[in-house]
Symmetry: C2
């Protein structure tokens, strides 16, 4: 009985045209969006489509092959952050190039606020993309869970929070190991009072870098840790606050290069010499930031563009059903790049 429905269940474009009393071309245009077709013809065709249960080929085809030829890239940050933090540009560049190599179309989405979460989840469940890559996720909102529970395969950039229950494959760098190396380097230079400008505590990259700082400086003075939000301005403010709290500090490790650049700005304003008075280390080795700092910034290098490419490769392996062969997640190495600031 089900076998018998196969023929009847696929009415042709021609059948719709005949039922509606219009040309095949008109049906095709309406089915594909209806641009330029007069309203009464659109209505006729839609009625015929509903009457016959017609489905255009592309929908039936993509349903079977699971190939929409597109991947959603979700940056869980508002537009002003997307355009002002070069981290996103570099990550997206790697993703865009690797998706192109797989002949897959990148469609970029970002998140202005919690009001966008449900719409993004709907979009992912709408059958428009083969998978989703999501980064800069925040543990205190619902988006990571909504993406993880959506019907498409997802890969995260950055590990999900411990205890979140989200078992989504991810690509991350060794944030904790990199932070350890940065702080060890400052200690090896003889610095006694090493401060940390941390990133937002709802992001695992920031938490892991704080953990690396604590690995080296067991039980440091809590006043030496100041919170930023990964923006240049927050780094400048945090540096000023640290100097007010502990004028004797002689080194600072900032959780990203933008905050380190902000810290350098404050140190210049206060007429403190880098590295003579205060040594500074960043994190990222972001070309567009480090090329402009004065002095040149010592930093922990992570291969941001390469991590974007890895996210795509992991997703593609999972989509091809090669999940057994593929590693669940990838953690890439970091390396300390020594320049003049420390």
């Amino acid at each position: 009985m089900p076998e018998q429905t196969t023929g009847a269940s696929r009415p042709t474009l021609e059948a719709v045209a005949a039922h509606a009393g219009v040309s095949r071309a008109t049906v095709s245009r309406v089915v594909n969006g209806g641009a330029g077709v007069r309203q009464h013809l659109v209505d006729k065709v839609r009625k015929a489509v509903e009457d016959l249960g017609y489905v255009p080929n592309h929908a039936a085809r993509s349903l079977v092959t699971r190939r929409h030829g597109a991947v959603a890239v979700i940056i869980a940050e508002p537009e002003f952050r997307v355009f002002s933090d070069p981290f996103f540009e570099q990550q997206v560049r790697g993703i865009s190039r690797e998706l192109t190599a797989h002949d897959s179309q990148m469609v970029l989405l970002w998140v202005e606020g919690v009001g966008d979460h449900q719409r993004i989840a709907r979009y992912l469940d709408g059958g428009h993309v083969d998978g989703a890559l999501a980064f800069s996720l925040h543990s205190d909102d619902r988006l990571p869970a909504l993406i993880a529970r959506s019907s498409v395969q997802a890969v995260f950039g950055g590990r999900p929070p411990v205890g979140s229950g989200l078992s989504v494959p991810f690509v991350d760098c060794d944030n904790r190991g990199g932070a350890r190396e940065a702080v060890r380097h400052l200690v090896s230079l003889g610095r006694r009072c090493v401060a940390h400008i941390a990133g937002p505590r709802d992001q695992t990259s920031a938490l892991d870098r704080i953990a690396g700082y604590h690995d080296v400086l067991v039980d440091p003075d809590p006043a030496l840790l100041c919170q930023g939000d990964f923006t240049r301005e927050s780094g400048a403010r945090a540096m000023a606050e640290l100097l007010d709290r502990r004028p004797e500090l002689d080194a600072v490790f900032a959780a990203n290069d933008l905050m380190a650049a902000g810290a350098l700005h404050t140190l210049r304003e206060r007429r403190l010499r880098v590295p003579e008075d205060i040594a500074v280390v960043g994190f990222d080795d972001m070309d567009s930031v480090v090329r402009d700092t004065e002095p040149a910034l010592t930093t922990v290098r992570q291969d941001i563009e390469g991590m974007g490419r890895l996210m795509v490769k992991l997703l593609m392996r999972l989509l091809q059903g090669r999940s057994d062969a593929a590693p669940a997640s990838v953690i890439t190495q970091t390396s300390l790049v020594r320049r003049a600031s420390a």
Copy 2:
């Protein structure tokens, strides 16, 4: 006879589950992407889907309502331009906010090269978006035609080239009128030798601003017109070339603010005073550019964010079939903003 197929043509999820010998939940997961389902079950479900001609509800629904809840925004520029020219950020901001107001998801695409054109056209024809907004289009490649001929309703940012045969509704500002006002202002200040740093000749905005320049300065010395590409660097280079060609020039109208900022940089290097030696006018009134120029930049203001919003409004009216009531295209007014540079 067609009416009779209606019932038979919509096999249920339950029918697919029974045919495949799996649970309803398994069918649902496979149909929605298949993440986490073992391969032999995926294969069984796919065979049942094909045998029965099953179509998930969301595809059938969106086919009839034409509501995917998403709109493609296509920037016909490579990623480095998208992230370095604040014009795109402002245009996309307006679009993003207005789409959110319509509960529609913005999916952003850009174009690294001609190799991307066919993939973008395929994506538009794939039934994933309700419409497309495209801007920074170039008349010497095929993308504008591919978008215009795609199956979804499109609205362009910027008018299509005359003679292109593309009758796509568009939103643009009065580029020619704005340029006229800029040049008239320079002439009214008594400037005798007014140069123009033009944008790329494959973009109608650049051509229209050249036309406005020629409207005021009938038959100017061709050596006073120098070509840029809307980047800051090209403005700096063009200014240097103009000064080498015509050291006596006393004013320059740049076709956008970024090129004007580049020109100011060159003038500073050459130790020429603005406006005493050379008056400078830009185009756009882009906050993030004009707030940093020294001296403050006189420029032609266009409401870039507002134009992004207008593109969405026009698209939504067209999608709602209100094309008769809606104007085909919108041309917004510009205004001269007088500051210190001219």
